[in-house]
């Protein structure tokens, strides 16, 4: 095996060469500071505003509702802390799910230390939050509900439209972390009643070091970073123009790839059908899931069988440990990921897998394969060929057997 197979698109994606091409002039030619009055600055400023429009367009937002940041982590921090501090006179209660990304979990812990109260809802065995649980948890002091759109580990898609509706009715801000779904699944911030949304560039073939936070007009929010007043004063810092231009180009490419097709039923409530790339990925994903569950005994799917990202697959295999599995696969040229404790700095199993009811030993045996733009059917076939052998080998070494 000479060619390597990358199946960790949920961790990060390669920058699309078309994106790189568009970015290049913004390093040494169109390098101006967007705050400068001269032509260099204005050229950069124009590129910034055009990029803002592109990103706003993909989520049906207004351009002035897009704040550029340096990462999804920063966007999520800004959403939680910014809303908390701007609205603490109304109340100090925040609601999150237990399967959020660590930047939400840790930010909410920090807010607890600052005197805020955080409710962590339960999820079912698929990782789904029940909208009625959100409704029950909201009280007079609640200022923010933050539930992710798609889970980064198990790919489960949360019912954010219903949650958004509840939040709107009860007058509570609703934030969603759409880092994994933006560009893959259509999002309409109005239809879905979203007040704040985190989106990320490097998960959709754009460069690292740039992300955005959608903040609905009229939302009361405090900045994290104070300074020269960039991004409507919500995020001071000289604008990273080359990265932002790249992000916008990545969005344009995704837009082309997932252009929605009118639904056959007129007046249908659901979104217009999405074609092309996501459908291609769904087919590959389903082939991989079916193949693994058939070929490997004692293999189990994590996450919801249908309500999941087009590109996410996550299993746990009885009797073996995930880091060993990932390194074995790496030696065979396949890049994957695991929620095992042994692979984490904290030596704790994934909080997501524990939240959906897996026991630690089960979470240790987890494997995530995430597909992307350059994943081919041949690659999936290769995985289906070698994975059963790798699992079998590790099971031979393990003291646990069926």
């Amino acid at each position: 095996m000479t060619k390597k197979i990358y199946l960790d698109y949920a961790a990060t994606t390669p920058v699309d060469p078309r994106v790189v091409k568009v970015m290049l002039p913004y390093f040494s030619e169109k390098f101006g500071n967007t705050m400068s009055l001269h032509s260099f600055g204005q050229e950069a400023k124009q590129a910034l505003e055009e990029s803002r429009e592109v990103i706003a367009d993909l989520m049906k937002a207004k351009p002035n509702e897009i704040i550029f940041t340096s990462s999804a982590t920063e966007s999520n921090n800004s959403a939680l802390k910014g809303i908390a501090f701007a609205n603490k006179n109304k109340g100090k209660h925040i609601i999150i799910s237990p399967i959020e990304h660590p930047c939400i979990i840790e930010s909410s812990k920090w807010l607890e230390n600052q005197g805020f109260e955080v409710t962590r809802l339960k999820v079912d065995q698929y990782g789904l939050v029940k909208p009625e649980d959100v409704k029950k948890a909201i009280k007079k002091e609640t200022i923010l509900v933050s539930i992710m759109h798609a889970n980064n580990e198990i790919g489960t898609l949360e019912p954010i439209e219903e949650i958004g509706k509840i939040c709107k009715e009860l007058g509570v801000y609703f934030h969603t972390d759409a880092s994994q779904s933006f560009g893959k699944i259509p999002i309409d911030v109005n239809k879905m009643n979203i007040d704040l949304m985190t989106v990320s560039s490097h998960k959709m073939y754009g460069p690292k070091g740039v992300a955005a936070l959608f903040v609905r007009e009229g939302t009361k929010i405090e900045p994290l970073i104070h300074g020269g007043g960039h991004e409507k004063g919500l995020r001071s810092s000289t604008v990273n123009i080359s990265a932002i231009v790249g992000f916008a180009e990545a969005v344009k490419i995704c837009q082309k790839e997932i252009h929605p097709v009118k639904s056959a039923k007129s007046g249908a409530k659901q979104f217009n059908r999405v074609e092309k790339e996501s459908e291609r990925l769904v087919k590959l994903r389903n082939k991989l899931i079916k193949g693994v569950l058939e070929k490997i005994e004692e293999s189990h799917l994590n996450g919801h069988p249908q309500k999941r990202l087009p590109n996410n697959v996550n299993f746990w295999f009885s009797f073996i440990e995930g880091e060993s599995l990932v390194i074995q696969l790496d030696l065979l040229g396949i890049a994957a990921s695991t929620g095992s404790a042994c692979s984490s700095e904290k030596l704790e199993p994934s909080h997501v897998l524990i939240a959906i009811g897996l026991k630690p030993q089960e979470a240790h045996g987890s494997l995530r394969l995430s597909l992307g733009r350059w994943t081919t059917e041949k690659e999936i076939d290769y995985v289906l060929k070698v994975l059963p052998k790798v699992v079998e080998k590790l099971r031979k070494i393990s003291p646990f057997k069926k």
Partner: protein
Amino acid sequence: MKKIGPYTKKVIEYFKKPHNYGRVKDPDGVGKVGNVVCGDVMWLYIKVGKNKKGREMIKDIKFETFGCVAAIATSSVITDLAKGKTLEEAMKIDRNKIVKSLGGLPPIKIHCSVLAASALSEAIYDYFKKKKKEIPKELEEKHQRISKEKEEINQRYKEWIKIEEKMHKK
């Protein structure tokens, strides 16, 4: 040396082709350490014989391990280090020796080498106990320490450990 993940080439070699895995038939001693909740479980089986000088030695040794790359590599290396050694020599194998044999381990994985050393001393302890032999003071102390740690973890994860025992059918 080129590394794979956080591991040295040697660790990966042992991991790729582990030596002496499986079970020894009718073992004279078994060392069970680690726990599945934390993610590392090592079971070490030994067969004791006598060398030409009539000293007791490890005639055969095998391991079964549930765990990460480091856990598998340390298990494998300790079987190599212990095989053919007298019990006296085998008891002296410590984590430093294991780490050295592997060309190093990432700091976060040092506990795997501790685990491997514990598995061996527990297997020897088990042998002494079964044969109703006098147990050397140092070995007894080690056993007490390991048991105490085990007890603490068992208390914390009672339910899960029951399941672990069920999973290990003969």
